[in-house]
């Protein structure tokens, strides 16, 4: 309504520029057309600045700290385990990440199917229970888990870390997989039933393959959440060292260049996985 109220002060279509094709005018025109793209380029530069820093400094000549540039070398990349404790911490993070991802993906996928395919009482409560861990600040989750473990005299270690990681990953798995199930065409399953497939066969041969990309995405998300988690892990890990914990502890006395190698390698590897998945997805358009 108010759109019509405001008189058309400026004719939006191809204004007959009174100033003629002056240089300034052309610059303004060009900015009007490309301004957003330039802005996006600057924003991406900002997004990638710290990552570029990490990558560049992974090629720094190793020393006690990795704050000043000493010269280019590839030895860090050839021997990423040379710095003490880096690789054992990474190994722990990988182990925890794999177990937590497996558990969270299975548990979360089951819930996603229940929510997407069934009507039942207690739906609202279930949704709330899944939403709350995502809405709770990490430090609160961490403090509450540690209080629990202390109260019940649970020894802190791998088991407590995995318990915590699975807990905060489940909700993300449910959201991701549920979205994928909701996007399925129900006719495909009906067709399978029409062709005399029973429910189990339909699920195994039609539903599961169609939902698989969503499950894979959820697993990748869980793994990266688990691998990079610091706040909760720091509270519930006891003596177990993980990669983020290693960085945090070494931040005071100097982070070895090898840690930067792990950081940037993880970055490029994840980027590669996502890009390959995207290419595969395009080649084989999902129905």
């Amino acid at each position: 309504m108010t759109v019509i109220d405001s008189p058309p002060r400026r004719p939006a279509v191809a204004d007959p520029s009174p100033s003629g094709p002056s240089g300034l005018h052309r610059v303004r025109r060009w900015l009007g057309a490309n301004g957003l793209r330039i802005y996006a380029a600057i924003a991406f530069a900002y997004i990638f600045l710290p990552i570029a820093y990490v990558t560049v400094f992974s090629f720094n000549v190793p020393g006690r700290t990795n704050l000043t540039w000493r010269g280019f070398t590839t030895t860090n990349w050839a021997h990423p385990c040379d710095a003490p404790d880096v690789c054992s911490a990474v190994g722990n993070s990988l182990k925890i990440g794999l177990v937590a991802t497996l558990l969270a993906t299975v548990l979360g996928t089951l819930i996603a199917f229940a929510l997407a395919r069934h009507r039942f009482r207690g739906r609202g409560t279930t949704n709330l229970l899944l939403f709350l861990p995502m809405a709770t600040p990490e430090v609160v989750l961490a403090a509450s888990l540690l209080t629990l473990f202390l109260n019940f005299k649970v020894n802190l270690g791998f088991a407590t870390i995995i318990a915590a990681h699975v807990m905060f990953c489940i909700s993300f798995v449910v959201v991701t997989v549920k979205a994928r199930i909701a996007g399925l065409d129900p006719r495909l399953e009906q067709a399978a039933m029409d062709l005399y497939a029973n429910e189990i066969e339909t699920f195994r041969r039609i539903t599961l393959p169609l939902v698989a990309p969503g499950i894979a995405g959820a697993a990748l998300l869980s793994f990266s959440l688990s691998f990079d988690d610091f706040i909760i892990t720091n509270f519930v890990s006891g003596n177990v060292n993980t990669f983020p914990k290693f960085i945090y502890v070494s931040a005071g006395r100097g982070i070895p260049a090898q840690a930067y190698v792990i950081g940037s390698a993880a970055f490029f590897l994840s980027l590669l996985i996502v890009l390959v998945a995207e290419v595969v997805r395009r080649r084989r358009p999902s129905p």
């Binding site: 996006a40 997004i47 710290p50 069934h118 809405a135 960085i247 993880a266």
Partner: protein, 304 residues
């Protein structure tokens, strides 16, 4: 069994063809959810209840560190609120500034990706989340180096006389807010993109057809339609930002401590679990109240 038959009585019963597996089918969703919800119960609900119980405890008379007894001292809440009022205000202040900054940075970016880049869309979306693939702590520490006195940002600002010769960004509130803004940026950009991308371009064209200028069209058509994304994005940024302590610790100084820092030090350095529990609860309560109000006002109910 009772639940199963009862839940079926009112609505859907006549539509479902009478099959032999009916009873087991109504139980199916519960069985599917059981393991996952049990996990959340044991490692999310029970810990929160334990934390709640701890929050009203007082030190045990024995005076041993780490020993507390339940005395239902609710005054703990008031005491902690008074003692850490500054940190609370700071947490929410920093989180609010960072959220606004993230919105200002992300909105044009999400808009450009949704409308201006064509086939590059998916690639650019991957690049938006790319920082998540690089360690959170390494990124934050990288900012510490980038903003350091000898770094190029500070040197450029100083040579342009945009910054005083004696001022510094190292260990400052500016650095903390910058770190928070950067670290939670994808949480803002993704929901914004998702809601912008869903807008039918014909609606925007219609704005132009009705003689609205580009700005008016944006104000009256595009922005209101993207509100769900704005709401989701601000919440997803604000919540982790208010609870964060890593940025304040790595990029700040003792005067930039946030509530998360206090919780952490109460747990590990001072071994004062009741206070840590109280502060966690106050933080969570404040966030939940803010979220509820905000969602009510912005009128978006579908967040999950």
């Amino acid at each position: 069994m009772a639940i199963a038959s009862a839940s079926h009585a009112p609505g859907t019963a006549p539509v479902v063809p009478p099959r032999s597996g009916l009873r087991s089918r109504t139980l199916t969703p519960y069985l599917l959810m059981l393991p996952g919800l049990l996990w959340l119960g044991v490692f999310f609900v029970v810990p929160l209840l334990t934390l709640l119980a701890t929050s009203t405890q007082t030190p045990a008379p024995s005076g041993e560190t780490g020993a507390f007894q339940q005395t239902l001292r609710f005054a703990n809440y008031w005491d902690s609120l008074q003692a850490y009022e500054a940190q609370f205000i700071r947490s929410f202040g920093y989180a609010a500034i960072a959220t606004v900054l993230a919105l200002l940075i992300s909105y044009p970016l999400a808009y450009a990706i949704a409308f201006k880049v064509g086939a590059l869309r998916n690639l650019l979306l991957v690049l938006v989340v790319a920082p998540f693939f690089c360690s959170f702590l390494l990124r934050t520490l990288a900012w510490r180096q980038i903003l350091a006195d000898e770094g190029f940002v500070v040197r450029t600002l100083k040579s342009l006389h945009l910054m005083g010769d004696t001022t510094t960004l190292t260990a400052s509130a500016v650095a903390v807010v910058a770190g928070i803004t950067y670290n939670f940026l994808p949480f803002m950009t993704l929901p914004l993109y998702a809601s912008l991308e869903r807008i039918d371009p014909r609606l925007i064209e219609a704005g132009g057809d009705l003689y609205a200028g580009a700005f008016t069209t944006f104000r009256k058509v595009t922005f209101p339609l993207s509100m769900p994304g704005v709401v989701a994005g601000t919440l997803l940024t604000f919540i982790p930002a208010a609870g964060d302590y890593v940025n304040a610790e790595l990029l700040g100084n003792p005067n930039t401590r946030m509530i998360g820092n206090v919780v952490q030090s109460r747990f590990f350095t001072i071994v004062d679990y009741p206070t840590a529990a109280v502060l966690s609860f106050l933080l969570m309560a404040a966030i939940l109240i803010l979220v509820t109000f905000y969602v009510r006002r912005a009128g978006t109910e579908e967040l999950v």
